[in-house]
């Protein structure tokens, strides 16, 4: 799949997920602490939504960073190296983020 298509698909997904995320998590603003998050995160559906959200965010962010870098001519010969680095960073961040989402258990 082309980076362009990855950006388009993840962008459309993010518009939906980010709207949900902003309204549910951050609006209206409040002092965030563990107890408040745990109530919502106890629902497995929210965990699933957040994991999918994380996937698209990482895809969009890393593909976007790759595009910004490879648009500069002197970096273009490194585009394979950048792509490899983006995949590695993406996998590590996805593993860490998923672990974090799952760690929100009521009796920690």
């Amino acid at each position: 799949m082309r980076v362009f298509q990855m950006q388009r698909i993840s962008a459309i997904a993010l518009v939906v997920f980010l709207t949900i995320h902003m309204i549910v998590v951050h609006y209206p603003p409040f002092h965030i602490d563990f107890d408040q998050i745990i109530i919502r995160m106890a629902d497995p559906l929210w965990k699933a939504i957040d994991i999918v959200f994380l996937f698209f965010v990482l895809m969009h962010a890393l593909a976007g960073a790759w595009v910004v870098l490879t648009d500069v001519q002197r970096f273009s010969r490194l585009k394979r190296a950048f792509a490899g680095a983006a995949i590695v960073i993406g996998l590590i961040a996805f593993y860490y983020g998923t672990k974090t989402i799952i760690a929100f258990q009521p009796p920690v």
């Binding site: 082309r2 980076v3 362009f4 490879t70 648009d71 500069v72 001519q73 273009s76 585009k79």
Partner: protein, 261 residues
């Protein structure tokens, strides 16, 4: 010329650069008479003839058709032969002329356009007719001509190419001028290799390098729309095989009269 004239004058600021003596470009001001009907190119000629013969710029036809005299006037790319001097003056009666941006300057207002032509050749800008071409004229329907969106009127002046920030970042990008030409050939029912063309453009240097900045539309002196051409090529690249098949079908009827509607 000069002081006893009754004509008002205009101040022409020109970016000068002589590679033999200058380390970097600098601005120089000239004063020219503002006669009725003076174009920006006329002002440059006036300066070169009467004030400074070393001023270097490209021009040829003076009728906005050769594409030689595209320059960066007051922050916009345009053909100076087609630009009325009076309308380009700011409230201090000044005009600023620079060479086309994002390209290496050779001297004064002349830029090195090698990358422009190299990228142009990359898209195979010529028409490739079918091998068993009939010995008759080919016929295109009015709809097929309309779909070209006047792309055939491009004069290759380089105004769009050098207005593009992505060209400024990387000369590996094919560029709006060549993509517009590729669009023209792909949409042309007489062309027999649209699939091959779309495959060539379907890369990070091609249609996917465009960031939809729209500068090419603003810059084009012929009111063409390279951005829309690129967006169209992007969509066609997704359904390349179906498009190629439709072209093969279409070319079976190239020499037949277009049915009346």
């Amino acid at each position: 010329m000069g002081n006893n004239s009754t004509h008002p004058t205009a101040i022409v600021r020109i970016q000068r650069f002589n590679p033999e003596t200058d380390a970097k470009p600098h601005m120089q001001e000239f004063e020219v008479e503002l006669k009725p009907g003076t174009t920006v190119l006329d002002a440059l000629h006036e300066i070169k003839t009467h004030q400074d013969g070393s001023l270097t710029f490209r021009r040829s036809c003076r009728h906005a058709i050769c594409g030689s005299c595209a320059m960066h006037v007051n922050g916009k790319n345009e053909l100076v032969c087609n630009a009325p001097l009076k309308e380009r003056l700011d409230r201090h009666g000044r005009i600023t002329i620079r060479p086309l941006p994002y390209l290496p300057i050779l001297k004064d207002l002349v830029v090195d356009r090698s990358s422009f032509w190299e990228q142009y050749l990359r898209v195979k800008p010529w028409l490739t007719p079918p091998e068993d071409a009939p010995e008759k004229e080919f016929r295109m329907s009015p709809e097929e001509v309309a779909a070209l969106n006047n792309a055939e009127t491009c004069i290759m002046c380089g105004a769009c190419y050098s207005s593009c920030q992505i060209v400024g970042l990387t000369k590996e990008y094919i560029g709006p001028h060549a993509l517009l030409k590729a669009f023209l050939r792909v949409m042309d029912p007489r062309d027999s290799i649209p699939g091959e063309r779309l495959a060539d453009l379907d890369g990070t240097d091609g249609v996917y390098r465009c960031r939809t900045i729209f500068n090419c539309i603003d810059a084009c002196p012929k009111n063409l729309n390279p951005t829309l051409a690129i967006e169209t090529l992007r969509k066609l690249a997704q359904k390349r095989e179906a498009f190629e098949q439709a072209r093969i079908e279409r070319q079976k009827h190239l020499d037949e009269p277009i049915p009346a509607r």
